[in-house]
Symmetry: C2
Subunit: 135 residues, 2 copies
C-alpha cells in the first residue's frame, strides 16, 4: 500500500504546520486552485478528533477567505472526496463564470476550453502563506 | 431573484433547527445522499460568522458519522459547490465501489448504471434525525 499523499507533497508547497499543509494545484483554467491536506494518513473527517476537524476547517476557511479577497471569484467550491486517494484533502477551488466548467462542478464534462491562466501565481501563494502564518 | 433553497425545502425533510436543515436527496444509485442546508441565504462559508461555520460543520460531521455507521460506505464525499444555486448547502454522499460513478465524483460521466436503490430509506432518515436531535 503506497499512498500518494503520504509519499509526496501533493502540489506546490504554500504553507504547512504540524498537522496539515496547503499546496497549489496546476490545473489549466483554475488559477488559485489549492488543496489543504491532512499530514497524517486518515480517510474521513470523522476519523479525526473534533478539535482536529475544527483546526483543519479553520485552515480551509482561511484559504477560502484569502482566495476570495485576492481573486474575487464568482464562487468558491469546497470538496473532500478522496475516492481515488483516500487520504484526507480538501479542494478549495475559486470558480469564475468563464472557467472551463462553470456552472458545473470541475469534474463534469467541460463547457469550454480553459483560458491560459492556471496554477497558483507566486504572489497568490505568498499572500496565502502570510495569512495562514497568522492563524 | 428567486432562490430555490429559500423557497423550497430542497429535499425530503429529515431534521432542522433554527439555523440549518438536513434533507434526503432522491438520486438513483445513491442511497443515503443528504444535503445540509443553511436556512438563511448566504453564498459562502466565509459569509458566516466563525461560530456559525463551526455549528454548521458539526451538523455535517454528525450526518457523516451517522451515515458511516448506518450504511458502511467505502467513502464519504463532502462538497459545498453552489455554482447553480448559490445558497450554502453541503452534499454528504455515501460512496460505494459499485455506485454509478465510483471512483469518480458523482458529477463526472457515469461508469455504470445505477442499482435500483436510491433515496433515503425511512429507517435511515429516522436514525439520522435521532442523532441530530442529540446535538
Amino acid at each position: 500500500m503506497t499512498c500518494e499523499l503520504c509519499n509526496t507533497e501533493g502540489g506546490a508547497p504554500i504553507w504547512r504546520n504540524e498537522e496539515c499543509r496547503v499546496v497549489g494545484i496546476e490545473e489549466p483554467g483554475y488559477p488559485g486552485f489549492c488543496r489543504v491536506i491532512w499530514n497524517a494518513h486518515a480517510a474521513e473527517m470523522t476519523d479525526l478528533a473534533e478539535a482536529e476537524r475544527a483546526r483543519l476547517m479553520r485552515v480551509v476557511f482561511t484559504v477560502e477567505a484569502a482566495l476570495r479577497e485576492l481573486l474575487q471569484p464568482d464562487k468558491i467550491n469546497l470538496a473532500s472526496l478522496g475516492n481515488v486517494v483516500p487520504h484526507l484533502h480538501w479542494h478549495v477551488i475559486p470558480r469564475f463564470r468563464d472557467d472551463p466548467h462553470f456552472p458545473s462542478p470541475i469534474w463534469a464534462t467541460p463547457a469550454r476550453a480553459p483560458a491560459p491562466a492556471g496554477g497558483t501565481r507566486p504572489d497568490i501563494a505568498l499572500a496565502l502563506a502570510a495569512r495562514l502564518s497568522r492563524l
